[in-house]
């Protein structure tokens, strides 16, 4: 991740550019000294727990909040000012490592507890707090649910529990309640707090709109694509090989253990947002371990492959397990059924298949494969 400097004639990008004055953050300087080891240690310690991430997220939240206001409104202008100041706070967070002390972002900009209206507040203070509550950047925008899985879970749980509560209390769905005319006081109150307590910001900022557009486009696409598609597994099996039910049952038990462990690990990766490379390596270790255990139970590759295919394809479960463990055997089975030939596409200007701006021609090739004698 870094800065980019580029030129473009892309109309979409050019249309979206706002010409604004440059923000110049006056950088504070640290005391000049010849650093000792103690200074290096202190600098390291100071740089731990920097707030750069959370500051940046708060600014993003402000972009979401600002989309609810008119450009001429006081709220809009104040939020634009806060967004500009955000860059200064980001700079301060980076400078923390130099031991430079600086003012943090005011809590009134993002923390509800600091703007709660108290009974003994004077009118002026109450008005100021109301204004700050109105533009408080306390929630992450909706699209960030896709970055933070725990936020997505919280959001989905919130929708489920409020939907349930609305049905039990009012006998209607939330949609029906929103569109209902002549709502009771209780119903109005419910909807008011439903929006206030929403776990994420749902104002129509640009990123939220893009997110919703993509969601609408992909809505139900996985279900439509894979619904009722029956795949003839005989294509990928070695039909000359059979297996005993006892062996199938043992492998099935192993499969269930694999699913449990993979599920647990995938939940951990989402929760802790582990590095993709680490996740890939760990998955590979799990696969190799189960491959070894499976071969201990049944050392005939073709038989094992047929069992995995039946396990995965005859149930509504992921086929990944099957392909992780016996992809080579499956490919061999396919080659055997096709006389060892594969078809592939090669770039050719005379080709009749077009993709990605290129033309391709279908070609055939003989491939050496292992054929087992049964």
């Amino acid at each position: 991740m870094g800065d980019t400097f580029f030129t473009t004639d892309n109309k979409v990008i050019l249309k979206g550019i706002k010409e604004l004055p440059a923000i110049v953050c006056i950088q504070k300087t640290a005391e000049k000294k010849v650093p000792t080891q103690a200074d290096f240690i202190e600098a390291n310690k100071n740089s731990f727990g920097d707030a750069i991430g959370s500051i940046t997220n708060r600014i993003t939240s402000m972009f979401e909040v600002i989309s609810a206001f008119d450009r001429d409104s006081r709220e809009y202008k104040e939020l634009m000012y806060r967004i500009c100041c955000g860059q200064n706070f980001q700079q301060n967070a980076i400078d923390k490592a130099k031991g430079i002390q600086s003012k943090p972002m005011p809590k009134e900009w993002y923390d509800y507890k600091t703007v709660v209206i108290k009974e003994d507040d004077i009118e002026e203070v109450k008005r100021e707090k109301e204004f700050n509550i109105n533009i408080l950047a306390e929630k992450k925008p909706y699209f960030m649910n896709y970055i933070y899985p725990e936020n997505m879970k919280e959001y989905n749980d919130y929708l489920t529990s409020t939907a349930n509560q609305c049905l039990i209390d009012f006998g209607q769905t939330i949609e029906e309640l929103i569109h209902k005319e002549n709502k009771t006081e209780r119903e109005e109150e419910f909807l008011k707090y439903y929006n206030i307590k929403m776990t994420c910001g749902t104002n129509p900022c640009i990123m939220n709109k893009i997110c919703w557009t993509v969601e609408d486009e992909l809505d139900g696409i996985m279900k439509k694509k894979f619904k009722d598609k029956e795949f003839d597994t005989r294509i990928i099996k070695d039909e000359s090989v059979t297996y005993k039910k006892a062996t199938y049952n043992k492998i099935s038990k192993l499969y269930n253990e694999y699913i449990d462990r993979t599920k647990w690990y995938m939940q951990l990766t989402k929760k802790k947002r582990l590095d993709k490379e680490e996740v890939r390596k760990q998955r590979q270790i799990l696969i190799e371990e189960f491959q070894q255990n499976a071969f201990n139970l049944c050392n005939n590759e073709s038989e094992l492959c047929n069992i995995f295919i039946d396990l995965c394809y005859n149930n509504n479960v992921s086929k990944q397990f099957c392909w992780d463990l016996c992809s080579e055997t499956i490919i061999n089975n396919l080659l055997q059924k096709n006389g060892g030939k594969i078809k592939y596409l090669e770039i050719d200007e005379e080709g009749n298949v077009e993709f990605g701006g290129y033309k391709f021609k279908e070609k055939e090739k003989m491939v050496i494969y292992e054929s087992e004698e049964h």
């Binding site: 929630k139 039990i168 006998g171 307590k197």
Partner: protein, 274 residues
């Protein structure tokens, strides 16, 4: 972020006699699929023996390494620390629920709903509340409970889609039997028909098949007891003597006995066929 999360009460994770459970677990080394459910009574039991936090932590560490095949100390360290801290706090007591009582007035109210499905639902919600109340050992002027709808309906033996479950609870709410929390996303429900001042008419000490206790009292179904596991069962015919699970198990046992008795004969027949 203004968050409010109230955990749902579920009967399936309740251990009615934690001391007995802890002793069994320490003897057999058997750990639940969710280890925290096993460790909770064990930690409380060790604490009741006068052990301090460090000793309990050590004992739990040893127990897990000996009995949990996938145990990795570093991965479980935070979880075990948390469990030990939680269940050794002052005021945390071992749960022992022998039975709960449903009173005459409570049953009268439930019966007055005049709709068998609503009655079954109201009964099960009441039982859940009474169990929860005994576990927490706290007295409160208002009877609030947060439960999983699907679980309650399953216990009440009412099969409905999720939306229809909520609508039935709405119907129950309209009778005045329950109230819904005014706080958004708080699914807690207040029970308005508790009356512990009248005599007890139903005592429940076996928490399997809760709703059959009500149907037996009401006289709307013939209720018996499974000869094998002593669970309440609905007698759909004169021949019913076992619950569904025990029926399957005894049938399996019978087939296995029959096979063992006649296996030589069956094997001879197989060879002849070949």
């Amino acid at each position: 972020m203004r968050k409010q999360k109230i955990s749902k009460f579920t009967l399936k994770n309740v251990i009615f006699n934690e001391e007995e459970e802890a002793k069994t677990v320490l003897k057999t080394g058997k750990i639940n699929k969710k280890p925290s459910l096993t460790l909770r009574p064990v930690i409380k039991y060790l604490h009741s023996l006068g052990k301090n936090k460090e000793q309990i932590r050590q004992d739990v560490e040893e127990f897990m390494s000996e009995n949990f095949p996938e145990y990795i100390s570093s991965k479980w360290s935070d979880i075990l620390d948390g469990l030990v801290n939680t269940y050794t706090k002052d005021g945390v007591k071992m749960i022992k629920i022998d039975s709960i009582n449903i009173t005459e007035k409570e049953l009268e109210y439930i019966s007055s709903l005049n709709d068998i499905k609503l009655e079954k639902l109201a009964f099960v919600i009441l039982v859940y509340y009474k169990v929860k109340s005994q576990m927490s050992n706290k007295t409160s002027s208002e009877a609030w409970i947060n439960f999983n709808n699907s679980e309650i309906f399953r216990e009440a033996k009412i099969r409905l889609r999720i939306i229809d479950q909520s609508l039935m609870l709405h119907k129950l709410k309209n009778t005045g039997a329950i109230e819904i929390s005014k706080s958004v996303s708080n699914e807690s429900v207040k029970i308005n028909y508790i009356n512990e001042e009248s005599p007890s008419l139903i005592q429940i000490s076996d928490f399997r098949e809760i709703v059959l206790n009500y149907l037996r009292w009401k006289g709307v179904a013939r209720i018996g007891v499974c000869e094998h596991c002593a669970k309440l069962i609905e007698l759909k015919s004169n021949k019913t003597t076992y619950c569904n699970q025990c029926k399957k198990d005894t049938e399996k046992e019978r087939k296995l006995k029959c096979w063992n008795k006649n296996k030589e004969k069956y094997r001879k027949n197989e060879l002849l066929d070949e």
